[in-house]
Symmetry: C2
Subunit: 350 residues, 2 copies
DNA sequence: TTTGTCATGGTCTTAAAATGTCCCGGGCTA
DNA sequence: TAGCCCGGGACATTTTAAGACCATGACAAA
């Protein structure tokens, strides 16, 4: 059943919105027993006219009855509400989750896509699409955007379709970090170039490994080409980054056993742009990288974090506590978990 | 899954239409491998501009890819089509059925609502709603409408909500037949008055029993009041009638055993406005009633038949063969059965 | 190489729908 | 009886959809 909704959403993007609006109106009418148009409009924050269009429709569908004393729900409307309840729950549940997370950590926007991207490639794609949409929502025509690597970011790049009117030919996409691991598709360089091409923007590449020894760092820091692009990266107005599980990242980086143990003992749960964070969002381990430094991130105007799946919920939560995120894009599985942890924390405090 | 669609349809009446349109477009694009806007518009009977609005949406949803050589379906679009196939089947199946029945019997309109009104009260309500809508589609402001009794007609009366702009205050609703059985709600008189009230029209009542002996008929025929209303009934431009199973009707009418047997032996399967019809749509038995005569029905401009349920499919089919129906409103259960019989007949002919 | 065809995407105008706003007469309640 | 809120009508205004064309570019056939 849930599945059908997901399918429909693709062909009718504003289905959910309309469904929710009408459900809310019908629900409110039911709760009010009998209510007038103006009163209802006020309590739903709608204008009289738009509400009227909706109630006319509800009436023509036989879901409400209207007479001179006001509107009331019909039997058909009542039974429809019953049937709709489980759907509405999931419809609104995500909104509530978004708002809870948003307000708890003072973000400007939280987007939760339904599903679990660990188990469903569809959800992963949705996550990418939501991320793309969020980025386009803040993107200006002359921005510089730094992006990290990872499979989620790669999906986002694929799903990036700019709305027709705007031109981004003066925008720059740059990788936020160097090369990491073997897979080409999920390199920050690849993603920066894909995104740039998709929106018709410029891009620069950073040709260094993500993890550097002291010597290598020093010598690369001398390279004028590298220095120039690093300058650009650090001046980005927008950062889009994946959030990694700390342990998993140590493996992907192929760190030596000793370092892995060290990082574990420091209580790291999350990794992003070369920094390891513990559960409280504090930086507990720093890798020597060429890309963004902590101070750059703090200074950056818009930080967009994208990650989903229950396994990453702890990592995502840690990044939220770090406090530099502005926009979070995640999936239901992770968001539910984070919501639960927020609740538990509230209980502890009281 | 099917259920959810039914629920949504109540809050989003044109959901199906939109879904079908977009599905058709996407499907056509898939079949065409690659195709241009104008060509596609021509093959789908759409104007270029409206198609463009749709394809822009499909593109923004990532379901198709557009470049300078034309449009082609994307992987996401392809997998969506796969998922949508079973839904589309049921979506279009009813359309095909409607058209098949319509063209076979030369009706002007056939409406098939999904489901089986024998098992689902929802479907019965849908049937009523569809009937109401069909009536409003042909109703003029100064019409006379004759309606029979029955539970389906009663449901239709309840679901009759006129669109706001038109006034029907010069229209007249009259019962097509007299009183029958005990239940008040399903009397033709009740239904005529309910319908009239719901659309703001006038009504007249016919105060005679449905089934008359010769003596009673003669004496009532003398009554000036009765004669006047019968005149009105026989001049109706529109008839809305239920279709009954012959055997069931003999019971409801509480006919004596001998007559029941007689009617059965005559091969009657359907009953409507006091006439019994065999499988070929021929009148095999006539009851002496005060209401409509066969010649009135033949002369009537718009005859709307409403009935659903598998058990009534034979009766409905008989009425179609009778050849006086203009609009048929039925449910999926009956329509599927009728469709099957049409196919069998075609095979017999060949 | 040229030429014709078909593609997309832009633009302008027109038509239609949605919306904001106000008002009227009618019940209901105090 | 007075006042209040009701639905529904009316209307100006804004927004959106649709129709009609055109510019430009890719591609294939001649």
């Amino acid at each position: 059943m849930r599945n059908l909704l997901e399918i429909q959403k693709q062909l009718l993007p504003d289905l959910m919105e309309t469904l929710k609006r009408r459900y809310t109106i019908l629900h409110q009418i039911m709760l009010s027993d009998i209510i007038g148009r103006r009163t209802l409009a006020a309590s739903l924050n709608m204008t009289e006219r738009t509400l009227r269009a909706e109630t006319d429709l509800l009436k023509s569908q036989g879901l409400i009855e209207i007479d001179s004393v006001g509107m009331r729900i019909s039997d058909a409307g009542r039974s429809l509400l019953d049937l709709l309840e489980p759907i509405a729950k999931s419809l609104f549940g995500l909104d509530d989750l978004e708002e809870k997370i948003r307000s708890t950590y003072g973000l400007s926007k939280v987007i939760v896509v339904p599903g679990d991207c660990e188990t469903s490639p569809f959800t992963k794609r949705e996550l990418g699409r939501a991320g793309a949409k969020a980025l386009l929502g803040v993107l200006r025509s002359d921005d510089t955007i730094a992006v990290t690597g990872g499979s989620t970011l790669a999906e986002m790049a694929d799903q990036l379709t700019p709305p027709l009117p705007l031109s981004y030919k003066d925008a720059w996409f740059v990788p936020a970090r160097g090369g990491l691991g073997e897979s080409m598709e999920i390199q920050a360089n690849t993603i920066a170039s894909t995104m740039a091409k998709r929106v018709g923007a410029q891009y620069r590449l950073l040709h260094v490994p993500d993890l550097l020894g002291e010597d290598a760092y020093q010598s690369l820091a001398q390279d004028s080409n590298t220095r120039e692009i690093v300058q650009i990266i650090r001046r980005s107005r927008i950062i889009v980054h994946g959030i990694g599980d700390a342990i998993e990242m140590t493996r992907r980086r192929k760190l030596d056993e000793a370092t892995v143990l060290e990082i574990q003992e420091e209580g790291a749960v999350a990794e992003s742009f070369g920094y390891y964070f513990n559960e409280d969002g504090q930086v507990v381990h720093t890798m020597l990288t060429m890309g963004l430094r902590l101070e750059d991130i703090i200074r950056t105007e818009v930080v967009v974090g994208i990650a989903g799946g229950k396994r990453k919920s702890k990592a995502i939560h840690a990044m939220l506590r770090f406090g530099q995120e502005d926009i979070l894009v995640t999936d239901e599985a992770a968001a539910v978990e984070i919501g639960r942890e927020i609740d538990e924390h509230v209980q502890l405090v009281h």
